[in-house]
Symmetry: C2
Subunit: 585 residues, 2 copies
Amino acid sequence: MLLRMSTLFLRTLREDPADAEVPSHKLLVRGGFVRRAAPGVYSWLPLGKIVLENVARVVRDEMNAIGAQELLLPALLPREYYESTGRWTDYGDLLFRLTDRKGADYLLGPTHEELFALLVKGEYSSYKDFPVTLYQIQEKYRDEARPRAGILRGREFHMKDSYSFDLDDDGLRRSYAAHRGAYIRIFDRLGVDYRIVSAVSGAMGGSASEEFLATAPTGEDTYVSCTNCDYAANTEAVRTVVPDTAADPSAVPALLELDTPDTPTIQSLVDRLNAMDLGRTYTAADTLKNVVLKVTQPGETKYEVVVVGVPGDRDVDLKRLAESSLAPASVELFEADDWAEHPELVRGYIGPQVLAGIGIRYLADPRVRPGTEWVTGANRRGFHAAHVVAGRDFAIDAQVEAVEVRAGDLCSVCGGELRIDRGIEIGHIFQLGRKYTDAFEVDALGPDGKPVRITMGSYGIGVSRLVAAIVEQSHDDRGIIWPRAVAPADVHVIGTGKADQVEVALRIGEELRARGLRVIVDDRKASPGVKFTDAELLGVPTSVVVGRGLADGVVELRDRAGGERSEVPLDSVVELVAERIAAEG
Amino acid sequence: MLLRMSTLFLRTLREDPADAEVPSHKLLVRGGFVRRAAPGVYSWLPLGKIVLENVARVVRDEMNAIGAQELLLPALLPREYYESTGRWTDYGDLLFRLTDRKGADYLLGPTHEELFALLVKGEYSSYKDFPVTLYQIQEKYRDEARPRAGILRGREFHMKDSYSFDLDDDGLRRSYAAHRGAYIRIFDRLGVDYRIVSAVSGAMGGSASEEFLATAPTGEDTYVSCTNCDYAANTEAVRTVVPDTAADPSAVPALLELDTPDTPTIQSLVDRLNAMDLGRTYTAADTLKNVVLKVTQPGETKYEVVVVGVPGDRDVDLKRLAESSLAPASVELFEADDWAEHPELVRGYIGPQVLAGIGIRYLADPRVRPGTEWVTGANRRGFHAAHVVAGRDFAIDAQVEAVEVRAGDLCSVCGGELRIDRGIEIGHIFQLGRKYTDAFEVDALGPDGKPVRITMGSYGIGVSRLVAAIVEQSHDDRGIIWPRAVAPADVHVIGTGKADQVEVALRIGEELRARGLRVIVDDRKASPGVKFTDAELLGVPTSVVVGRGLADGVVELRDRAGGERSEVPLDSVVELVAERIAAEG
């Protein structure tokens, strides 16, 4: 491959696009890799297409290496399949839905569990056929509420999705482990810095699951990792460890109602309590905050009113609640209209003491466990109650993971302190189990002639997102620094301006190409400054500058990542570059 | 590549699928290349995906060779762009339309003229930037009324679409010629038998255009070709040549009204005329048939009533009329309700004599030209008129190509006789001109500082359809006969059953792979008959059968296309196969 900048369909930009917030978005647009076609929908220009293909090639390579077989399914899918598994409804507004000329409902595939399960059901029937793993690399569609950050979270994006089909749980674990290994090799080859974190499976159904997160301060996902051991998890998946703080409930005085006017906030309540001379000092962590939620099960239109209790020094994390304890229901806060419909709930002064009596379920953070003592609402405007003991004065229907995880929380594995970081989800592996094979009755005839229900795994890599994640991790203020495996070229040869310099640049480019290297030659009529600026923006790992030194028979070699520059004799530059790149590989 | 049938995700079928009418549909499904996901929507299984990629690779190769640059645009496109060019409306029911969560309208791209024109406008601004040709290989969407024949006419299909951008008409002609050459090389390399025919440009807008039709009796397109010269054209594009038959109008008697009850058909009218002793013998070709049409311009809701006159021995071809003379309007026949609304038109007895007086346009076949004499309706129930002379007794507003082309019609180039055949449209090249660049004001600043409006070409290849077209041309009653360039493998090695035969088959396969060949090894526990049947169905060009001859140190070589079989020594089979295949290439 030899691309000439004089004819390449590429115009770099000096200014960041107005809507760009994160470095990858700015640099991929400025470098002419992508262009926006609509919110969350991008076109890949020639260099972007090359980079995207480079990522796809590594993914394909490692998928083939674990025996996965490549297919290509349609994006336009009939409603009926997704109706069978409930995802037509569960996916909510995330799904692009459409109707054909005959009025039949279709969707644009967000992932393809249904179709792959049906394919396997259609082709395979005997236990001898299994296991099998199938994959595709293809456009996916999700109508994100806030498409953001360029191709980091798009509405049309490129994904590798694979599906394993096994006869039993051990087989599923092996398929899962094979994918985990392949993913490690893929992300290592692509030069990504990533963490593998425990995850919850969300709308996909299923059990064990892990995410691969590219570490990046601009990431949308937060994850915790233990400062002491190897534990790492998506915040939604963190299990809370509670230090043993419960007092002997029999030593706690009886519930005491307190007149607490003008205490609309936790802090004002704490100040009032401490001014009351109740024999101890209170902090926000001693108060019990009760949050009223509307919980809607998939496919239902009516919601259930549920109250969640958390310590007053913690905020409720609705996403965590929805994706772990309450999945697959959707969860919303009570709003003005809802309060008006439920006069039995005294806004701002709710305590769990009355909930069982009025038939409302009470879910509590693990810190709110039987025997713990709290100050909470007295269900009467202006009044709170002290000495309210869980299990004595109120019942807990279930413990749920409901609060925001904080740095310093304890590790559920070793008890060490957790830290919180941000990352970009680039891969996700699931042990799905039988949700989809149950829906479609995907069975194999066992050796004994009895049907065996197949168990599935589902594994995704965001191919287009990976391109952005790599740029997030690998850039400086002048541009992108591509790892060689994904770079649009191996070498960027710059003829700085004069005709003879450009001519030599083209000759060097041809010789490098003849050695199997991928080359961009800047043969434009442009100033050396423009060419150097563009080269740094485009981020090809190695540059060769053919400039004034040509008169003395030397050219300059530049390394984009390290910034090193060295003069080398013109007649050995091709050999040297080829050797260095071969040595890297 | 080495695929083992024992693990390949492939189950062949012995029965034709119930909905399959054409050979490619039957064989691609039976051979496990594709599976139907919805009407006109197909999944590509592993061997199908390989074949599809093989076709795409040849296309990509030749596009790159003419300097076209590969991009990848989204399929999900905002309405506004297609609104600007009128295609949001013009495409009618063919367009898949959808709405996002915010209520914004989108479509699934049927072709991408708008987006490419906008991309070029966004990146390029100077005459020095041009010419440029861009392409992509990507899924396209069209909501066909009758998706048929498997992947021959799908609703989601794979297409190569490219677009040229030139400063002037000469440039456009060069870009067009470059594409024409590339298409010839592509279809030659793929082993397709095709014809290049003149075409009309239809809904795409623009001027010169040609279609590449794979010859096939199952094709949906008909084309004419001259039995005497090289002329070939899509039937819509045929220009009618009229033998000079006009009499001297002054020699024709005055219009004569005839009482012709019970003559509902042309034939009954002709019989009646000949029974009337009018001094000559009439044939259907002497009568003038007048067909009433509703013509609706794009974006309009009201139709215009138009009458088309054709010789009584010819049928009106609505598609031809709509795609040539009346494009881009849509054309429908008058129906019962319409007749009721227009009592001034006497159904069955319309003559053009009154049309000018009631403000209805009269369009006529070129055979109905000034000076010709006809028998036609008298605009009075039960009456016809003879000696009706065009230009004397009625006016013609325009000559149109309105009748069905017939074998034996005359060639517009040499006057030879035309023949009619069927084909499958596998490629289409258009000189679009400025329809899209006008809509988006795509200009380049010329050398004189004045803007130059860019002119476009648009060029498509149906990549998935090509797979089917190749099968239509290349199969027998036992299965597919793949040309090597597209075959899922070069060699199909069959171990006929016993363990040692399978082992040798695998060893041969490995050795062939080591020589860079793509190999399928049938290592299944299955009968020789099943394996032979599958090999013929799958259609790999060369087979090696490791069977009973193994004891004597020989294996059998089979050629799928020619059917030749020969025994060769085991220890030279790899060398021999590799040599033969190298010799082909």
